[in-house]
């Protein structure tokens, strides 16, 4: 992690963490507290925390195959103006790893009617966030870009893509 000058790419916070379940609560509390300050309701913050938790669980379990030595990066960007006193219009969270790559089209949850343990995480992420983009990173690992707008009930409201890679980058 270099400590040199920062590029003006909109990221205001960036967490680097080991792929260990005991750190899930720290990561989701970080995102929830930032979302709260950006203007999300308590309820929306709870849902965002859940989506982040599910995304990180998937990286830990499927990406790193439960290896506790994997590294995960989580970056947070306020949407709609980066000035500290500008009202944000939403939040963008990007989760990156160095784990195995998978075709984004293959990342989907089970049919909800087929009740069995598991298979809910990706569905939850799509329900909560307005935009969900899985991509292979250029070198290795995956990137998941998540966006949610403030004052949006989180219902399906036209994210840039809901299945697979979108190539859409802000």
């Amino acid at each position: 992690m270099s400590q040199s000058s920062a590029k003006p790419d909109g990221i205001h916070l960036r967490l680097e963490m080991l792929s260990q379940p005991r750190y899930l609560s720290g990561a989701r509390e970080l995102v929830a507290a930032v979302a709260k300050r950006l203007g999300f309701t308590e309820q929306a913050c709870g849902q965002i925390a859940l989506a982040i938790d599910e995304a990180l669980c998937n990286v830990m379990c499927h990406g790193y195959g439960r290896d506790p030595n994997g590294v995960i990066w989580l970056s947070i960007e306020p949407l709609g103006g980066h000035a500290p006193d500008n009202g944000a219009t939403g939040i963008k969270v990007v989760i990156e790893d160095e784990a195995k790559q998978i075709d984004p089209a293959k990342i989907k949850s089970r049919d909800l009617d087929d009740v069995r343990p598991g298979g809910l995480g990706v569905h939850i992420i799509h329900e909560v966030m307005d935009s969900v983009c899985f991509q292979k990173r250029e070198t290795k690992g995956m990137r998941l870009s998540l966006e949610k707008r403030i004052d949006d009930d989180g219902a399906d409201s036209g994210g840039c893509c809901t299945e697979g890679a979108c190539g859409h980058e802000r």
Partner: protein, 130 residues
């Protein structure tokens, strides 16, 4: 910058990384068992909930009540654990009842459309009579 764990420790994987924090109260009545987990249920604590559910089911109670009034948070690993327990319970004629859910926890059951699949009631009193 980040610390890797030695290979021998890492090989034990995540199983050993779970649950050293979660306290689960067990209340054994004549025909029912009430489990009350204390704390957040996520990937790091759900294995402990799973142990506790399986152990309670082994006693073949006619009713297993999971009281979530001390559970401020649950992710899909917790929900998966409860789905597994429900399926096991059905096979052994045990009635599984969830109660005491906070809104935040209820919302994940709604998102997963499992709120109609589980028997969910307000509190342990209601759970005893359902």
């Amino acid at each position: 910058m980040m610390a890797r764990i030695p290979a021998d420790v890492a090989q034990r994987g995540l199983a050993g990384m779970s649950g050293e924090q979660m306290k689960i109260d067990v209340e054994q009545n004549e025909a029912s068992v009430v489990l009350t987990p204390h704390g957040e249920i996520d990937l790091s604590s759900s294995p402990e909930l799973r142990e506790s559910l399986l152990s309670a089911l082994r006693g073949n109670p006619s009713k297993l009540i999971v009281n979530l009034c001390k559970t401020p948070y649950m992710d899909s690993s917790g929900v998966a654990t409860l789905v597994e327990a429900m399926q096991k319970a059905m096979r052994s004629q045990t009635k599984l009842v969830l109660c005491g859910m906070e809104d935040k926890v209820r919302s994940i059951f709604e998102i997963a459309r499992l709120d109609a699949v589980f028997t969910i009631v307000d509190d342990t009193d209601a759970a005893q009579t359902v």
